[in-house]
C-alpha cells in the first residue's frame, strides 16, 4: 500500500471509477450539446438561453461541470506524479509538484463556482 494524500479520493479504485464515470457524463453532455445544435441549426441567443432556462439542462450542466473538475483533477494529479519528480526536477520537485497541484485545484474550484454563477446567477 502506497500512501498518497493528494489524489482525489485516497483510493486508487475510487479514483479509477470516478474518472471513468465522469468520462461517460462528459461524453453524454457533448452529445447533448451537439444534438442541440443539430435540432436548432439557426442557433441564436434566445434559443441558447431557452435551452439553459430549462432546469433539467441546468442540473445536467452542473453535474457535467463537477464531473469535469473531478476528471481533470485525477488526470492532472496523475501527470504531476509522473513528470514532476526528483528524476526530472531534483530537490525542487516536491515544491514544484505541490505548486502545480495547488494551481490545478484552484483553477478547478474557480471554474466550478464560476459555472454555478453562470447557470443560476442570471
Amino acid at each position: 500500500m502506497v500512501i498518497s494524500v493528494t489524489n482525489l479520493s485516497r483510493s486508487g479504485l475510487s479514483d479509477w471509477i470516478i474518472q471513468r464515470a465522469s468520462a461517460v457524463i462528459l461524453a453524454a453532455y457533448t452529445l447533448c450539446l451537439v444534438g442541440s445544435f443539430l435540432v436548432h441549426p439557426e442557433m441564436d441567443y434566445a434559443t441558447w438561453r431557452g435551452i439553459f432556462d430549462n432546469t433539467a439542462m441546468r442540473i445536467f450542466s452542473l453535474i457535467t461541470l463537477a464531473a469535469l473538475c473531478a476528471h481533470g483533477w485525477i488526470g492532472m494529479w496523475t501527470i504531476s506524479t509522473d513528470y514532476i519528480l526528483p528524476l526530472q526536477f531534483g530537490s525542487a520537485a516536491t515544491f514544484l509538484r505541490l505548486l502545480f497541484q495547488g494551481a490545478c485545484i484552484l483553477l478547478a474550484v474557480v471554474y466550478l463556482i464560476w459555472g454555478i454563477q453562470i447557470l443560476w446567477g442570471f
Binding site: V2, N7, S11, L13, W16, D82, Y83
Partner: protein, 235 residues
Amino acid sequence: MLVSIYRYNPETDSKPVMQNLQVEVPAGRDLMVLDVLALAKEQDPSIAYRRSCREGVCGSDGMNINGVNGLACITPLSAAVGGGKKLVLRPLPGLPVIRDLVVDMAVFYKQFEKVKPYLINDEPPPAIERLQSPEERAKLDGLYECILCACCSTNCPSFWWNPDKFIGPAGLLQAYRFLADSRDTATTARLSDLDDPFSVFRCRGIMNCVAVCPKGLNPTRAIGHIRSMLISQGT
C-alpha cells in the same frame, strides 16, 4: 556484423559511451544475440553482462536489443536486426547501471517482494496436500511461467517514473497468480494492499509489457483481472 554496445562503469566513467565492434558472424547460421555478444567479448574481455542458462529459463540476460527488450539467448540475430546491418545492445532501461549491460534490479525485486509472492493459507494443512481441481489449476496457466527477467517492467513508462511505487507488470502478474490460486486464503488482504493510486492503477494499459515478454505472457490481462477483483470487493 557491426555490434554497438553500451559501455559504462559508474566508478570511473563520467558518462556512458557506445562501443562499436566488428564481429565476424559465421555464414549460414542464425546465431542468438548472446552468441554474438560472446564473440564481441572475445575481442574485448572487459564487456560486462549477465548470462546463465542460455536457453530462456533463468532470465539473466534481459537487455535492450535494437530498441526492444528481450532475452539475448533466445533472440535470433536475424529477428533483432531485421534487414539492418547493426546490432545495438543497451542495458534494460529505467534501472541504475552497475556496469555496461548489468543493471541493479533491487527496486524490481522490492516490488516483487511487496506482493507477497508465496501461498498464504491459514487453514490447518491436510494430511497429504492441498488439492486443486484441473479447472482451478488451469487458472494459473499464463501466470506461473514468469521468470522475472524484468523485460516487461523496464519497458513500462509508469515503472520508469515511479519504480518505487508502481508494482509493475512482472510483480502484478505474480500478484494475480496468488489471487487466482484456489489454495490461497489471503485474497481480501492482498486486494486491500493494492488499493492505492500507484500499486495497480498506474497501469495505463498501453501493453508495452505484453509486446516484449519473452515467455509470451500477458501482464495487462492479469492487471485487468486484479482491477475486476478490486471492483467486486470494493463496490
